[in-house]
């Protein structure tokens, strides 16, 4: 680990990662031992590594897997779910599964085709859907906190993108911890935010975690992957650059250089589902599904798909 000027053997690396994770959980006041935590699990290296770490640290974390209906001629969804299920079964952990098609009436690729938001950008509708479902399940399940497996490379790539475009609103909201809001957002935390992607992958490999190596077929050409590769070039020449970039940002944020709106400012309840939104009327998720209903109604000559009609009902 050139950024830390640290070389560890397998045994000590596998001790170091959970120790550091616990340190970050405490440093950023992410959650306490007695709080119910829900971890979003994709079947990839980061989320399964984090689940392993949490269980080893004694946190009784439940997992949430969202079946998106993405196949990509490689059974991507089935294989992802199998990895998540296998891990849960092997560790006696509780895994909640939400099947987007079964619950809402269309897969993510179908949703992308049927909405303006998703046209040529399935990642956009996928992101809206995942964020909605994660918050919904966490809230309904009475979890105090929602965890994701975002690593430092994820954070640095998003930071780079938001800085390039001076997205000050997004910069103000990028943090290891996003507090819960009165309007209904559950607290969100990223315990792996200071680990390089290489470290989480190494941890998963060394622990023998069976994760899905294949990437989502829709991620080909994604901006964040491009930025990660750019930052990777910088890191190869200047070890520690990514870590320094992210930590300096967090310090600047703490010093008040990115004063954003207060956490609850402008938030209201969606008139359809009750989840928090900044939009007047319906939230982005409900508007998206309303558009899908409309498109399906048009294509069927007036008869609605009853499953899609219930998409936003609670």
């Amino acid at each position: 680990m050139r950024q830390h000027k640290l070389a560890l053997c397998c045994e000590h690396f596998l001790q170091w990662v959970p120790e550091q994770t616990e340190r970050f959980i405490q440093k950023y006041k992410m959650f306490a031992r007695d709080e119910r935590v829900l971890l979003a699990v994709s079947g990839g290296k980061d989320s399964l590594a984090l689940w392993d770490i949490l269980l080893r640290l004694g946190f009784a974390a439940d997992g949430l897997y969202i079946e998106l209906g993405i196949d990509g001629d490689m059974q991507y969804g089935q294989r992802s779910q199998a990895c998540a299920r296998k891990f849960a079964d092997a560790h006696g952990a509780h895994l909640i599964t939400v099947d987007v098609h079964r619950k809402y009436g269309a897969t993510i690729p179908e949703l992308a085709q049927l909405t303006r938001r998703g046209k040529d950008k399935p990642c956009s509708v996928c992101g809206v859907s995942k964020r909605y479902i994660m918050n919904y399940v966490a809230r309904e399940g009475g979890y105090a906190v929602l965890l994701t497996g975002h690593n430092l490379d994820d954070e640095a790539a998003v930071l780079f993108q938001n800085t390039l475009h001076w997205q000050t609103g997004y910069l103000a909201r990028q943090a290891p911890v996003l507090p819960a809001t009165d309007a209904g957002f559950v607290r969100k935390v990223k315990p792996l935010c200071r680990f390089y992607e290489r470290e989480t992958a190494a941890y998963a490999l060394l622990r023998g975690i069976d994760y899905l190596y294949a990437e989502c077929p829709f991620s080909v050409g994604a901006n964040t992957i491009y930025y990660k590769e750019l930052l990777g070039r910088l890191e190869a020449e200047r070890p520690g650059s990514k870590l320094q970039f992210y930590l300096s940002f967090l310090q600047a944020r703490e010093d008040g250089y990115f004063a954003g709106a207060k956490d609850d400012e402008g938030l209201r309840s969606c008139e359809r589902c009750g989840q928090p939104t900044t939009a007047p009327g319906s939230c982005a998720f409900c508007r998206m599904w309303a558009a899908v209903r409309e498109r399906k109604r048009e294509s069927r000559g007036g008869s609605e798909n009853p499953v899609v009609t219930q998409a936003c009902g609670r």
Binding site: A7, C10, G44, K45, D46, K121, C123, S124, C126, G127, V128, K130, D153, D154, A157, E197, R198, T200, A201, A202, L205, L206, Y213, E215, C216, F218, S219, A222, N223, T224, I225, K228, E229, G232, R233, E235, A236
Partner: protein
């Protein structure tokens, strides 16, 4: 060094079904850089064991590369 170019003595790095032949006697890190692969973006596995990038590559070895980059635009 071009992928697939035959040199001896050499070792092989395999990534997603593609083979890269590299000269033995240099580090894993230097070997990856020699075939235009960024060492920051891959992990190296030899005989099922993860190896560090300061390992000296020996002739006849066959490494598997694991890409570590993941993500999408959501």
């Amino acid at each position: 060094m071009e992928p697939g170019k035959d040199i001896a003595p050499n070792a092989v790095f395999e990534l997603r079904g593609k083979e890269y032949r590299v000269a033995a006697g240099q580090t894993v890190r230097a070997s990856l850089q020699a075939v235009d692969l960024n060492p920051e973006l891959y992990l190296c596995v030899l005989c099922g064991e993860l190896v560090t990038d300061d390992r000296i590559v020996e002739a006849g070895e066959s490494y598997r590369l694991v890409a570590v980059v993941s993500g999408g635009d959501n």
